[in-house]
């Protein structure tokens, strides 16, 4: 069993560690780094709860090896704000619009929306809705998340 040195920028901080090649980025983040915002929902890349940003792009951390993140920038929900008291505007919208119930899927939704919100040209509401179809939520019926999108795209007008 060979160990690989991996280092990357996580939420603005440089981190490193020795990992087995087979360690997924999700397991590395949750178990080795203690960064438990990305959740293990299905672990087959379907549900979206483990979504993080790698080089600014939303990806499934359960279908990526930790070593594949070597030298990259990785962002998780923890990096969006300084904590529950100073929320990122999209986090704030999620809260205001009741876009969550059990909250397990929420970090994944947030990461995809944040990436979309930053991208140029900025996607319209329909494109954002389509992007969200890669995230499963069993509680809300997605209605609150769509209100968030409406407000995000309104704010830009």
């Amino acid at each position: 069993m060979s160990l690989h040195f991996v280092e990357f920028e996580l939420n603005g901080c440089q981190i490193d560690g020795m990992v087995e090649a087979r360690r997924t980025l999700l397991d590395f983040l949750r178990c080795d780094v203690g960064c438990t915002g990305p959740h293990a929902g299905c672990e087959h890349g379907v549900c979206g709860a483990c979504t993080v940003l790698v080089e600014g792009q939303a990806v499934r951390s359960c279908l990526m090896l930790a070593v594949q993140a070597n030298g990259k920038t990785v962002e998780t929900v923890e990096g969006l704000s300084g904590g529950p008291k100073e929320l990122h505007p999209i986090q704030q919208l999620f809260r205001e619009e009741f876009a969550l119930q059990c909250g397990f899927c929420t970090p994944g939704f947030l990461m995809t929306l944040v990436a979309l919100d930053r991208s140029e040209p900025r996607p319209n509401a329909a494109e954002m809705r389509e992007a969200l179809s890669g995230h499963l939520c069993r509680c809300t019926g997605y209605q609150g998340v769509l209100r968030v999108i409406d407000r995000l795209t309104e704010d830009r007008k």
Binding site: R30, C31, G34, T36, G37, P38, H39, A40, G41, C42, E43, H44, V46, C47, A49, T76, V77, E78, L80, S81, G83, P84, K85, L87, Q91, Q92, F94, R95, E96, F98, L100, Q101, C102, G103, F104, C105, T106, P107, L110, R129, E130, L132, S133, G134, H135, L136, C137, R138, C139, T140, G141, Y142, Q143, G144, V145, L146
Partner: protein, 768 residues
């Protein structure tokens, strides 16, 4: 005692953990820090649905890397039982297996991967028998979990014979996986003197506590179960969580090390129960208006291999086979079939959706037969004066269904849109639209009467902060927020003064599951009881101290007014503490006026009914069988809502979950009894793109006629059945291709191939 202002209860306040959820800081069990001695668990499971175990060779399992211990039924010190009622669910199989995927042995290893890999290495010698899987096989073998039940009034057969019109038909509806995003998980830790602490993602901490204690051969006082939040549950963590909690506790018992069992998603889907699938046969007699004169309904469900909660679930299907309609002479027969599959279990609606979908199909079939508008048939059959007693003998005393339907009909422009749909269908050859408006009347209470009780524990600290604990569990539905609102309101303080803490069996004992939509009804009342106890002590203290009448003490706006005195709430708390007033109290509530004679299926099993109605508009592509829900307009009754924003969330989420059950979520077992749809790639819950293009939810404005907590109504389950409108609308769209053929035979879920098959039958003129 003057009531405080209504600013907290009834306000659309945010979920108490929302700020944590969005920051990734709301802690679930899997987020707990792991100590180096933590053991990870996995089950070795059966590959036969029905067999005798001849021998188990687990040497390879024990020898696998990372494995610390392997346990079988022989290692269970107490009762090998994780069942809610009947004592027939084994933690680990003992001699025989009754479903494919049943846990046989338990592996404890140093990593989750090691445990899972080792669990595959067991060599099991089976003496396999032919499993009973289908409805037909179970009927032929008379394989039942309990005797067939009958609920009846009058003489349905005679009424049928005398009716001017008669119809018969069949409807099959599939089961449903809960697909909570957080899978089953438990983390058990050893305490001193053999005690165990279990973090369990469960809706029923008390039951987990009792089962774990019984399994270990210890007393309930030795086991503490705690749950702060679940990542969704929907009924799937009512009885099903006990298996994993018991496994973790067993390992703690033997090793003295903490143990975590996080089920893999596929394993979770195979190992835990689902909604019951049903086959319904009906025979109905009716007049020219479509009013039902007589009805024989036969409900058959596959309950799986053990009893679990199936008796109560199938009872609820019978209770809801009337939905909002007066059925006159009626016979409802309910077969509870025992099959060699994972035991079917609680799922939002608890049998209600199946019973209700059955009667909605009857309404549609009658309308199709007569060529009448289905809504006219529905309205003609509603409960009303002189027609207000259910088949189980309960008077429908709060019947708002006629008014609620009339309002939705007008607000959502049913008639205008129905005409527009007809015009569209006349001009469109390939795309066909359908529109339907269906009601919901859902009985609120556990139908097992003794479960309708709850407790709370309330502390007011000397600094004025308040800590509330109750027996209900938080699974995202906002129960903690609602109960905190009730408490804040009672003391006239802001919600920020109230800290609501994790549900623990050492704080509030002997609780019922957070289920049957009862969470806020029961725990809100228990919390209010506790709050009123403390408030009365404080009012008495004020009256004595400041020389005023007790009734003149007012708690409002974060202040207390007593006679001429006025002081901040915190000041009062401090003074009361100095005066040696107890600021801690328990609260209790038991729902009144419930009684039920199960042998006769007569009585008053519900405290009240929650109502709603939905109008759904769909379009189908007759070439491909695809469909889209264009719009849903919902009017739903939450009584006087404790929190309209949270209630709307329950309605929106329940509706889409119901839509998934009826359209895209399909469970398939093969001929050996193996579940084939056990992954999110093969089991398809709705995505954001499947929700209606237009979804409009309005709350019915009216108080509960019963003195429930602030006159609110339960909202967890009832909205699920609003999605019946989608299924009826799909039927209407198919019917539009050939209306003279009557209502189409469409089973649920309405996948593209089922819609195509229904279209083909419609074309060939097969009547429903």
């Amino acid at each position: 005692m003057a009531d405080a202002s209504l600013s907290v209860v009834g306000a659309p306040l945010r979920h108490d953990s929302a700020h944590l959820h969005v920051a990734g800081q709301a802690r679930y069990i899997d987020d707990e820090p792991e100590t180096p001695d933590l053991l990870h668990l996995a089950f070795g499971t059966s590959t036969h649905a029905r067999a005798r175990i001849v021998a188990m060779d687990l040497d390879a399992v024990r020898a696998a890397p990372g494995v610390v211990a392997v346990y079988t039924a022989a290692d269970v010190p107490g009762a090998n039982d994780v069942s809610p009622v009947a004592g027939d669910d084994r933690l680990l199989a003992d001699g025989e297996v009754v479903w494919l995927g049943q846990p046989l042995f338990l592996v404890a290893a140093t990593s989750r991967r090691a445990a899972r890999q080792a669990a595959r290495l067991g060599r099991i010698d089976y003496d396999a028998q032919e499993p009973i899987l289908t409805v037909e096989q179970a009927r032929a073998a008379q394989s039942l979990i309990e005797p067939t039940q009958r609920m009846a009034r009058g003489d349905a057969v005679a009424a049928l014979a005398a009716a001017p019109h008669r119809l018969s038909g069949q409807l099959a509806m599939g089961g449903q996986d809960h697909f909570y995003l957080e899978g089953q998980i438990a983390l058990a830790r050893p305490l001193e003197d053999g005690q165990v602490h279990v973090l369990s993602s469960t809706q029923h901490p008390s039951e987990v506590q009792h089962l774990v204690a019984h399994m270990l051969g210890r007393s309930s006082a030795d086991v503490t179960v705690e749950v702060r939040r679940m990542g969704g549950a929907f009924g799937g963590k009512e009885s099903q969580a006990a298996l994993y909690a018991a496994a973790a506790a067993l390992v703690v018992h033997h090793t003295g090390r903490p143990a975590k069992f996080r089920a893999d998603r596929d394993d979770d889907m195979v190992q835990t129960g689902k909604r019951h699938d049903f086959v319904v046969d009906y025979e109905v007699g009716f007049d020219a208006e479509g009013r039902i004169a007589g009805l024989c309904l036969r409900l058959a469900s596959r309950c799986g291999a053990t009893v679990d909660l199936s008796p109560a679930i199938n009872d609820r299907a019978m209770f809801h086979a009337d939905n909002a309609y007066f059925l006159g002479d009626v016979e409802i027969v309910s077969e509870r079939l025992k099959t060699n599959m994972v035991s079917a279990t609680a799922f939002r609606g608890f049998g209600g959706p199946q019973g209700m979908l059955a009667i909605e199909r009857v309404m549609d079939a009658v309308a199709g037969h007569l060529g009448r508008d289905p809504l006219a048939v529905r309205v003609a059959n509603l409960y009303g004066p002189g027609r207000d007693v259910t088949p189980y003998g309960m008077v429908v005393a709060d019947n708002i269904a006629p008014d609620l339907i009339a309002r939705l009909r007008s607000d959502a422009r049913y008639d205008e849109r129905q005409a527009a749909v007809a015009r569209f269908n006349a001009e469109s050859a390939i795309l066909k639209k359908g529109l339907a408006l269906t009601p919901v009347k859902f009985g609120i209470s556990f139908t097992t009467t003794h479960l309708n009780q709850a407790g709370a524990l309330l502390h007011v600290y000397a600094d004025g902060s308040i800590q509330i604990n109750h027996g209900g569990t938080e699974m995202g539905q906002g129960l903690y927020t609602k109960v905190a609102q009730v408490v804040a309101q009672a003391f006239g303080v802001g919600l920020d003064q109230v800290r609501i803490t994790a549900t623990r069996t050492d704080k509030v004992p002997n609780t019922s599951a957070t289920a049957a939509s009862s969470g806020a009804d029961l725990n809100g009342m228990a919390a209010l009881d506790a709050a009123e106890t403390i408030r009365a002590r404080l009012a008495d203290f004020c009256a004595r101290t400041f020389g005023c009448e007790i009734d003149a003490v007012v708690f409002a706006g974060g202040e207390v007014q007593a006679g001429g005195e006025r002081m901040p709430w915190a000041t009062l708390c401090r003074r009361a503490h100095m005066a040696r007033i107890s600021l801690s109290a328990t609260g209790f509530y038991a729902t009144p006026d419930l009684h039920y004679d199960r042998a006769a299926h007569q009585g008053q099993p519900f405290y009240y009914f929650a109502y709603g109605a939905a109008l759904a508009e769909v379009v189908i592509d007759t070439l491909t069988g695809e469909h889209r829900v264009l719009a849903a307009d919902i009017l739903h009754d939450c009584g006087r809502s404790l929190n309209p924003a949270i209630d709307k969330g329950q309605i929106e989420g329940g509706f889409l979950q119901g839509q998934g059950w009826l359209t895209s979520e399909e469970l398939v077992w093969d001929a050996a009894g193996r579940l084939l749809t056990h992954a999110p790639s093969t089991y398809k819950i709705p995505t954001a793109n499947d929700r209606p293009d237009h979804l409009h939810v309005t709350l019915w404005d009216g108080a509960n006629h019963r003195p429930t907590i602030h006159r609110s109504k339960a909202v967890g389950e009832p909205p699920f059945m609003l999605a019946n409108a989608v299924f009826s609308a799909l039927g209407a769209a198919i019917a539009a291709t050939c209306p003279e053929a009557g209502w189409p035979m469409l089973d649920a879920p309405a996948t593209p191939e089922r819609i195509l098959a229904a279209l083909a039958r419609q074309r060939d003129g097969v009547r429903a």
